[in-house]
Symmetry: C2
Subunit: 515 residues, 2 copies
């Protein structure tokens, strides 16, 4: 590492130390601090290796670049998000499958275009050549072809791997969750497609992320539009990816790129620009269907528009009319889309985990891909598919930021009652009571110390948000009594020793009824 | 690929493009066009791969050696098992964490002895040298050291990777789940240890796998025993692994191995044999504590026995006295154990998935490992840990075999009502009703075909185990009525169209009350 790099690393370390210091001063969430400290340690470890001249004996204590551990409160937030999403998938009758984390390398080859360089390969240790999965869609298509499954509605939540250069401060990682819902099968037009959009809408509503908009477009319409404007067929893909930038860049920049980098004539680019800045509802579809220039000689554009007309009609039947907008600038990068495409964006300006504005960001997206399964089938038999991927990592960032700014403490356990002792030598009594509570399916804990201090036990209850404490005392036990304490109000009642489990159950039921 | 092959492929592509063009011009069937287009895309993909110079051209459709996909019914069984296990962990107040699927290779180095050769390495693509995790314990220890966490009770259910030569017919895979529960922290003796055993007992009871026995032993007792019998200290480990074979091999074989392969004198081996064939309860502990030969000059054996005495006493307080057996032959392979060790075995002769007898197999195991975290801490600060790993793959095998022999059909979705139509042209009515049901949080599906046959729809309900069907018919709709059919009994009732959601809810509540 050259001196310059070392200086840069040191500057990063200083900056990160600042972040940690401020977080601690502001009494930020424990998890958040843990995360930032671990980032700091990572940076120091990098410098350490370098300073040491990378002595082989010094263990670097870090997770691999672009990855992180998830601590208990992050996991609690994740579990909550996963449960909400899965309950929507189940409401729509989806099954779930899982595939290995790695595939034969050739399964992934030729599916991701330029991004193939981001695939993680396994070392050749004698045997097959393997790569970590890059997304869940290609393994899904491989699964369908391999098992000759011609229809299924499935969800899959799992980790995928990309050797991206992680801008970790922007919340991007090399290991991250994807969460996909897909409907495979030969069905009538737009019926499964619109259900995918309905699923997105239910999920975003259930997660309470604020207002959102679901943009839709159609690959055939885009192709037809390019054809009608005179884009050479071999430039469709690259022009598509220029159009895709319109959500972040002004038209002038995109126009520039089309003309100066991609060699379109200004007139052709202008023609595209006239259309891709349009968005609206069904009346825009009708208007474009009257546009002779667009649909006159171009079957593809007409087919796309007619498909969208049907799609929007079904959207209304599913109550999505206010959330869905036909947007000709939506292009989406992946090559394998063949029909309707959609993308959900959050409209509220939520701050992300790292305090930066999330702006109008994409939170879910997908579309129809009718030819992918055929690429795996020996006889190229296709299984038409349509699906959507929920940007769960984005969801986590938004929620973690919101909880941090609310200073909400996330409960990381579900303990209902803590069995405490008021004096020494009551360990065996605590153990017996815990056994009874566990036998009654009550979530209970006690201290792993023989003689813990009562104050420490009660503080633990407060920290962990445990609602009840059963306090054992010598004189109470002699009277056949146990005190049950409501931790927040500190209100205590006495119950018969043999009725503790039932009394705990009653108090919990009452509390959940009140809340 | 040689130039000739490439030219041939290019010619094929041209030819196929022609076919597609002509088909489109002739407005051929959409299916046919899709098929030919996908063929064309495949050819292009082949050319792409070849041009890259990467890989063979014939796609092999399989998962990597030793791995498999999990289909919907396997996933349903797994979800059920996971939920039962997690609910026990939660009953004991455990948090959960997750770590990356890969670690810096050096984190894993030196932790698994000979088995290190089974670690999957990632390719060196420039950057860090990484390996897939081999278990969840070492990443847990790394997590504790890295984040300076001195106490936590956590569970972790996740996949681990071992390049074992998989005897797949015996249900062993290279990618498989582990399911660990560990308590880290400086506590009083045996209190967390016995809770781990209580957790195992609750899990095995909840999974209804039949009778089981939890064998316990202590590393210090084993070491003391070897010392007392005169095993040279440098042979403790290898003799330990011989003892570990006693659950499968008769004493004579193990004796042979000790003498002929490992060079013990027959007298020393006989001495070991006198002890390791003993098992019992507290009275055996007391008996051995009187054994001068064993505890006379050997502190280690006495400490181990006294620890076990306390452990067994706590077992009784937790109601485990009938399930736990002190067994001197239990040795367990891993080097890192330092205290009590335990292993649960199923006593009933359950058949596995592949029809072979599962015999008296280990289903969970663990123990105390007080020195592992210190291996990661720069100052070698230790965090004492005790934990248990549930052999979930074994659990799945047993349950899958049981379901197969019962011919039980596993439901893979939770759909509560299927919205069917009795005649053509009712798609929009089905969609509207589905919307209402989803809005009411009812799990509902309908056919993705415009005009499905009623019989096919009802058969689908039977196949999928959907309890109710809402059948839309023209005449009923004209009367403002929908038929609700109980799929199994075929009993039908008529409900007002506007009350369908409420009626479905009522029927489901009634049914769950009856069951």
């Amino acid at each position: 590492m050259c001196d310059e790099d070392r200086l840069k690393l040191k500057a990063q370390i200083n900056q990160q130390s600042d972040i940690v210091r401020k977080l601690k001063a502001a009494k930020g969430s424990k998890d958040k601090i843990t995360e930032e400290v671990s980032h700091l340690l990572n940076l120091k470890a990098q410098l350490g290796t370098v300073e040491d001249g990378s002595g082989p004996h010094k263990l670097i204590l870090k997770t691999p670049k672009g990855t992180r551990d998830y601590g208990p409160s992050q996991m609690a937030i994740r579990a909550d998000v996963f449960n909400k999403i899965i309950s929507v998938f189940k409401r729509h009758g989806a099954e779930t499958i899982d595939t290995p984390i790695f595939e034969l390398k050739e399964v992934l080859t030729g599916k991701y275009g330029e991004d193939s360089k981001l695939i993680y390969d396994l070392a050749d240790q004698g045997g097959e050549i393997l790569s970590l999965r890059y997304d869940l869609t290609v393994p899904f298509a491989r699964y369908l072809a391999m098992n000759k499954i011609s229809n299924i509605k499935r969800y899959h939540m799992a980790k995928v791997y990309r050797r991206d250069n992680p801008a970790m401060m922007r919340g991007r990682y090399r290991e991250f969750y994807q969460c996909d819902f897909d409907i495979a099968g030969q069905y009538d037009p737009m019926i499964p497609d619109v259900e995918c959009v309905r699923v997105v809408s239910e999920i975003l509503t259930s997660l309470q992320l604020g207002d959102f908009l679901i943009k839709v477009n159609h690959r055939q319409l885009l192709d037809g539009l390019f054809e009608a404007c005179g884009v050479p067929p071999d430039k469709f893909r690259t022009i598509c990816s220029s159009v895709d930038k319109l959500d972040k860049s002004p038209w002038e920049e995109v126009h520039n790129e089309m003309v100066n980098e991609k060699g379109l004539s200004p007139a052709v680019a202008d023609c595209i620009g006239k259309y891709v800045r349009l968005s609206g509802k069904t009346e825009l579809v009708e208007q474009l269907l009257q546009d002779e220039m667009l649909v006159g000689q171009c079957k593809s554009a007409r087919d796309g528009l007619e498909a969208l007309r049907l799609f929007l009609k079904y959207c209304t039947l599913y109550g999505l009319q206010d959330q869905v907008s036909f947007d000709l600038s939506l292009a989406r990068g992946l090559d394998y889309y063949t029909g309707v495409i959609y993308e959900a964006v959050l409209l509220s300006d939520t701050k992300t985990e790292h305090g930066e504005s999330s702006g109008v960001g994409s939170i879910a997206g997908g579309g129809r891909y009718d030819n992918l399964v055929g690429m795996f089938d020996p006889k190229h038999k296709n299984v038409p598919c349509v699906g959507v991927s929920i940007g769960v990592e984005r969801v986590f960032s938004v929620l973690e930021a919101r909880l941090a700014s609310n200073k909400t403490k996330v409960r990381t356990t579900e303990v209902e009652v803590f069995v405490a002792s008021a004096q020494k030598n009551l360990l065996e009594d605590r153990m017996k009571l815990c056994k009874e509570l566990w036998d009654s399916n009550i979530k209970a804990e006690h201290s792993y110390k023989r003689n813990p201090k009562l104050l420490a036990q009660l503080q633990y209850c407060e920290e962990m948000g445990i609602p009840l404490a059963a306090i054992l005392g010598e004189s109470e036990l002699a009277r056949g009594i146990v005190k049950l304490r409501h931790v927040v109000t500190r209100h205590e009642i006495e119950v018969q020793r043999e009725n503790v489990a039932q009394a705990v159950r009653d108090l919990l039921t009452k509390a959940s009824g009140n809340s």
